[in-house]
Subunit: 362 residues, 2 copies
């Protein structure tokens, strides 16, 4: 990638020194430093660039690098950077993009890749605005690692961005934040438990007055004629709350909650995990319904579902959840498309943390 | 679910007979048959209903069932149907919904569940319009089974619908069709191969004239300054076509196609599978780019990407692919949201079949 735009100015002379690139001339060094705060000014004059900075400045024709008196070709520079910096190509694409958006970018504290100053800010004067982790779309999404990165950016009150690079080099930025979702619904207490018939993967309440009362008490299930159809999660929850007696549809016999849970887990191996999140969201005054049509576990309403849309799509994940980034990306895009916020409900031993992933343009 | 709407008419008298329900009175039987073609008229007069029909008519108050002289309760009927019909609750939800949309529904030939007549059509006179398979969202998506269902509906020129029931009993209909995607692009032949540096999961062409020529020849990769960034698939394809020499960025040494494929498969275990679909679509005159942002393998253009949008999102799957229905549902919804068609490219030993899944309201 030789010079593309040099403007009227000649490229500054730079020299390869080990794994750094140095501009020995003080005036040329100052010029490059002032226009974008690249590199570190050296105490004896001149400027030292790291390989990301040098690649960017060489690509845009602002420096010309030599090695022992001969021009140092771009392919050699890329080769050196690839050997020296793990995931160089991903980091470079992010570095380049953030620079081209007009930000000053400085190295971050590992495992974070970059600190980004607010537009117009100078190092040492302005505080950084974003902390960025550069990620390949083919990389692994690791909930535990992400949580710890987020906590470290939270401590210093920075905005935490993930920059995900796809195989064509296109970038998507995700802002990651921990949130505490809250609703304003109150659920009525039922006087006597209703009778629920367990079919394979749902539960029917057939007695019309019981069905109507249960449905009205908290928007449970879906009326089907004068009967009520509950999901396994709803039925499990209501049974635990003492609002539902469960019966096997085939035999008509009562089924204990424990037995029910066992058979639910056969149908739905993550039943327990989902139940934890379902219960948690309900206890925070929200209405929880299946998110099947949106490809997530739940859609969640803060208020009356007849007058408001669901605000969140929530996915229940184990604390040590790992998946492909492409999967996560798909979920966020889908939520975006239907104007909902996506939350990952990370189920710990005692608590559930909610991570919000939001696509933004920095 | 006792009578909800009876209109002015008394429910017709029906009797449980084994696993059927019979309306012994000829006039009452005729009345029920004529208004929706329920059941089978018996040769000696009267009407015989199957358990789906009987449940639907009992729920809507059009029949009152007795067993040995006593009223037969709805819960017993549901219990009997659950024992007798595998997946009764799923089939019933679909049956009920299609009936409520004003269609006449008759049993299908297994494994298809229902034949649906066009609105206003009578059995024996009109040909059926849809063939429907009723599916639970928690069921398994099985590409091979789906293909064989589709072939059997194709042979008789019916529209093949999948009715997927979620845990709340909500229904989504998918129309499934095999398509042969075709484009109108021609790709230029390159005179001499370009030089490509392999980085971890992408390939860079640094020489400006080579980069520009390669990009112009078929919209390959993405320009980055004066260089070109190719995906592993693009680089693999171009190398096979003799348009690219691959070099390891770390060592500068040439890499044979076989070695490259091995290392690509480390990065991307389904590299070969994707490559089959990539090559097939390109040979049909289409432009193929990553579908990462849409959560699928490819986005595919029929013409110039600068003047047209991608028409398809394509996912490469093995011939015997199995996954959860929820996954498929998510992909279809996502494609829908961005107004693209989703194709599953089913990779067989010699050929690739494309299945289009489209959400419709019948």
């Amino acid at each position: 990638m030789p010079p593309t735009e040099t403007g009227s100015r000649q490229p500054a002379r730079a020299e390869l020194r080990g794994k750094k690139v140095v501009l020995p001339d003080e005036a040329e060094g100052n010029q490059v430093y002032i226009k974008g705060y690249y590199g570190k000014p050296l105490s004896g004059g001149g400027l030292e660039l790291d390989l990301l900075e040098a690649t960017y400045l060489a690509e845009s024709g602002r420096i010309a690098i030599s090695d022992a008196g001969s021009p140092y070709p771009m392919s050699e520079l890329v080769s050196l950077a690839t050997r020296d910096i793990p995931g160089f190509e991903i980091k470079y694409i992010v570095y380049r993009d953030v620079r081209q958006r007009g930000y000053v970018v400085k190295p971050g504290t590992p495992p974070l890749d970059f600190r980004v100053l607010p537009r117009g800010g100078a190092p040492g004067k302005a505080h950084s605005k974003y902390w960025i982790a550069a990620i390949s779309e083919r990389g692994i999404f690791d909930a535990r690692a992400l949580m710890s990165l987020m906590e470290s950016t939270n401590r210093v009150r920075k905005v935490f961005l993930l920059a995900v690079v796809d195989e064509e080099g296109d970038l998507t930025y995700y802002k990651v934040k921990d949130v505490v979702p809250r609703g304003r619904l109150k659920f009525a207490q039922l006087k006597a438990p209703a009778d629920g018939l367990i079919l394979e993967d749902r539960v029917l309440v057939l007695e019309p007055s019981e069905a109507a009362a249960l449905h009205a008490s908290g928007f449970y299930g879906k009326m089907m004629g004068s009967g009520l159809q509950l999901s396994l999660l709803e039925a499990g929850y209501l049974s635990e709350e003492g609002a539902l007696n469960l019966r096997d549809a085939r035999t008509g016999k009562r089924l204990a909650w424990k037995k029910f849970r066992e058979s639910a887990m056969e149908q739905q191996p993550d039943f327990e995990l989902r139940m934890r999140v379902y219960r948690d969201l309900k206890s925070a005054g929200m209405l929880v319904k299946t998110g099947f049509k949106y490809g997530s576990h739940f859609r969640v309403y803060e208020g009356d579902p007849d007058s408001t849309h669901a605000r969140y799509l929530v996915h229940a994940i184990p604390a040590d959840y790992r998946s492909m980034w492409a999967e996560i990306s798909r979920a966020v895009r889908l939520a975006h498309g239907v104007r909902k916020e996506i939350l990952l409900g990370r189920v710990g031993e005692t608590e559930i943390e909610y991570l919000r992933l939001e696509r933004i343009r920095p």
